[in-house]
Amino acid sequence: MQRREAIKILATGTILQLASPGMMALMREARAVAASPSAPRTLSAHQFETVKAMAEMIIPRTDTPGATDVGTADFIDLILTEWYDEPDRSRFLTGLHEVDTHCQALFVKDLVEASAAQRAEVLTALGEKTEELMEQKRDHAQPPDAPPDQSEPFYRMFRRLTLTAYYTSEDGATKELNFEIIPERHDFCAEIQPAPARQENQ
């Protein structure tokens, strides 16, 4: 009932936040420009492909879109360029380089040339190494007045950006999480309904 009322109010407003066709078209255009394959600003072409491959390994396309479909590498390039400060940026790029170093040591090729199984092996090792690193950070006795070390290891940064890019994208939010801007109904202790069959061609 509230939803219907909200939509009614929106529909009678002078400027529409949701439904104005002009505005939506403008936003779509802006998105298209943002998502267009303009050259990345911080990542090199090789780095960009590496990021894309890793992100797609973490969130692959299944019956719903994957990391590549929603432009995850573009978002990561934006964050590297306009959001991170220099220490974050260099920690990220060093970590990304080490992925290739590790892949070379194991398979004598860069990640982008590796097979899916080889990529999986690299990511598994990276996950284990990161967990060890986090454990060391936790256990490492710090003098009580030392500022906490808040720098995230590379793979945590990478996962944070990848999952954020995916789940906050329109496809990730609406197709994967069934996110509704105005919820159809509210019930804070609701039984899970069987998922409706996904419609591939929508």
Partner: protein
């Protein structure tokens, strides 16, 4: 500089258009007074400025915020959870609006300068005080005694609640009187579990209830019920939560007696030593104009019969400091020397979290803009040896989202499927504690530093005391205790080391009292020294209670307006 006398003569001038300014505007105009409301910031047009339905994918940084801009323009404001990529525009620029602090005593001053003030981004929690609060200073000797009691304010709570619309559950607790409630919001599954466990294990002394919230659960006074989209701090096109923009200012507008003037930075008040009255307000015209630098703006004078300061506890005091006269060299209406003293906030952010097993087949549908509340239980019936006063818990139970996948190591189709589903039910108890009034927590004018308009800024000197630290420690213990009683797993206690100010409940800088020698305001929010000057924002508070203060500010404002109107009728002002 020659000032310009602007506009006509007003019956009343209200400084500030937020939580209390909106109420003063409504009450004064509805009583027939021609009222000018001065707002330092820009106008707000809900259809343009509210952004609660803009999804993350339309935002450049997908909700992470513009970090570099935050660091340069809003390093303090952006620490606040509500100052996100959408709503950062409702918070001030720290660059343009500086303040200074005593070294070693950090204070976080979170501010909004626009029509609506912070009522646009407030957290909407609304609780009545009780006599446990009003008598606290008298009983334990901290601060000075409140000049009013619950009975004085109860009718005014009703008056504002009936207009605002507060959803909640009646409990009949003496320490937390019930409001006139709209139906309560529902609990989540985990909240039901913890509520039952607390009722079972803590014998009625501790109670878990739904947050009492100024969010409508049914349509009310022409405003629509909440549609549970979630982020109220970005605005509300259906006007379902209370703000001055959504409710009180439109009501004042309807009378035809309101003049609302945005871009009006109040510099100071004008005082006539012969009549011992304020005669009006000096305003810096802050209308955007790239041709005139901010420090060379015209100063306008507005005249009125009475002045209501509703600019917030700190801004109102700053205006009075900047209004010093030969008779009041330390700030207008400050013969007591108490102006700027006894600054309080709430001690916020200690408690515990845990995981509540069960209900894995159930989820939350919709985003409830409200949590749970556990009313104060310390020093209510029994005496706690370690500290005086008490605290309440906010918080709630929710299913974890995809963010949990960041700290995991999995990847691939199975991982994607797993983290796209709701995670375990988590539960958090987050304490809000009472802060004692203390003369040594104070603000003064820093004449060396000015804001973008050239107005001297405040220097803040405020720190928690021993009682607050003891309360903080107890919060972690009782929170963990309650989670353990509810069978929670992985219980972790936490203490956020939040400096004063961060609860955004700053108050007490112009306290009420019976004695003009020890208080700034009389029991009707009227300055002892200047009869036609009223302060009804958080400045008037004599103690802080542990509950969120806005409802009390609103009730005090309506009550002060009623007094001002009757004094005007008697020609006493």
């Amino acid at each position: 500089m020659k000032n310009e006398i602007a506009g006509t003569f007003y019956d009343a001038i209200v400084i500030g258009s937020g939580m209390t300014g909106g109420w003063a505007a409504k009450e004064l105009t509805e009583a027939g007074l021609k009222t000018l409301v001065l707002e330092a910031g820009r106008p707000i047009v809900p259809e343009q400025d509210y952004v609660e339905h803009v999804p993350a994918w339309e935002m450049k940084f997908r909700g992470l915020g513009d970090r570099q801009k935050n660091l340069s323009d809003q390093p303090i404001q952006s620490l606040c959870y509500a100052c996100d990529e959408w709503s950062a525009k409702f918070f001030v620029s720290d660059k343009d609006n500086p303040y200074t602090q005593t070294p070693g005593k950090p204070f976080r001053w979170i501010r909004g300068r626009q029509v609506g003030g912070r009522s646009i981004m407030w957290a909407r929690q609304s609780y009545r005080w009780s006599d446990l609060d009003f008598e606290a200073n008298l009983h334990d000797g901290n601060g000075s005694d409140w000049p009013i009691r619950y009975a004085d304010l109860a009718p005014w709570y009703e008056h504002v609640e009936d207009f605002v619309g507060i959803s909640g559950e009646a409990l009949g607790l003496p320490q937390l009187p019930d409001s006139h409630f709209l139906p309560p919001m529902q609990f989540t599954c985990a909240e039901k579990v913890v509520r039952e466990a607390i009722a079972k294990h803590f014998g009625g002394e501790r109670v878990l209830t739904i947050g009492r919230s100024a969010v409508l659960t049914q349509s009310h006074n022409g405003r629509a019920a909440c549609h549970y989209c979630g982020p109220c701090e970005r605005g509300c096109i259906t006007r379902s939560y209370f703000s001055s923009v959504n409710a009180t200012l439109p009501a004042a507008e309807k009378t035809g007696r309101l003049t609302l003037r945005p871009y009006s930075v109040v510099h100071s008040l004008m005082f006539d030593a012969a009549t011992r009255r304020v005669t009006g307000v000096r305003v810096i015209d802050a209308t955007p104009n790239p041709k005139v630098s901010e420090k060379a703006r015209p100063v306008l004078e507005f005249r009125g019969r009475i002045v209501f300061l509703c600019a917030s506890a700190l801004e109102s005091v700053r205006i009075l400091f900047n209004s010093a006269t030969p008779e009041f060299p330390n700030g207008l209406a400050n013969s007591s020397g108490e102006l700027g003293r006894n600054l309080m906030d709430h001690l916020m952010g200690a408690g515990a979290r845990g995981t509540i097993a069960g209900n894995e087949d159930r989820i939350e549908l919709g985003r409830r803009p409200n949590g749970i509340y556990i009313p104060r239980f310390r020093n209510v019936k029994t005496r706690q040896p370690e500290f005086v006063r008490g605290y309440g818990f906010q918080g709630g139970g929710y299913r974890e989202g995809w963010q949990r996948g960041i700290e995991q190591s999995g990847f691939g189709p199975e991982f994607k499927k797993a983290i796209s589903r709701p995670g375990p039910w988590r539960f958090e108890l987050y304490g809000f504690g009472e802060c004692l009034p203390n003369r040594n927590n104070f603000v003064e004018l820093d004449k060396q530093t000015t804001d973008i308009w050239g107005v001297p800024v405040l220097k803040i000197s405020c720190a928690w005391g021993e009682n607050e630290m003891a309360i903080r420690k107890d919060m972690t213990i009782t929170a963990a205790e309650m989670l353990a009683a509810a069978g929670a797993r992985d219980i972790e206690v936490f203490v956020e080391d939040n400096p004063p100010g961060f609860a955004i409940h700053e108050m007490g800088t112009a306290r009420m009292g019976r004695d003009p020698r020890t208080s700034v305001l009389n029991p009707n929010n009227q300055a002892h020294d200047v009869k036609n000057l009223f302060i009804s924002d958080g400045g008037c508070m004599v103690s802080s209670s542990c509950v969120n203060p806005s409802l009390t500010y609103m009730a005090l404002t309506a009550r002060a307006c009623d007094h001002a109107i009757s004094e005007l009728k008697k020609n006493n002002l």
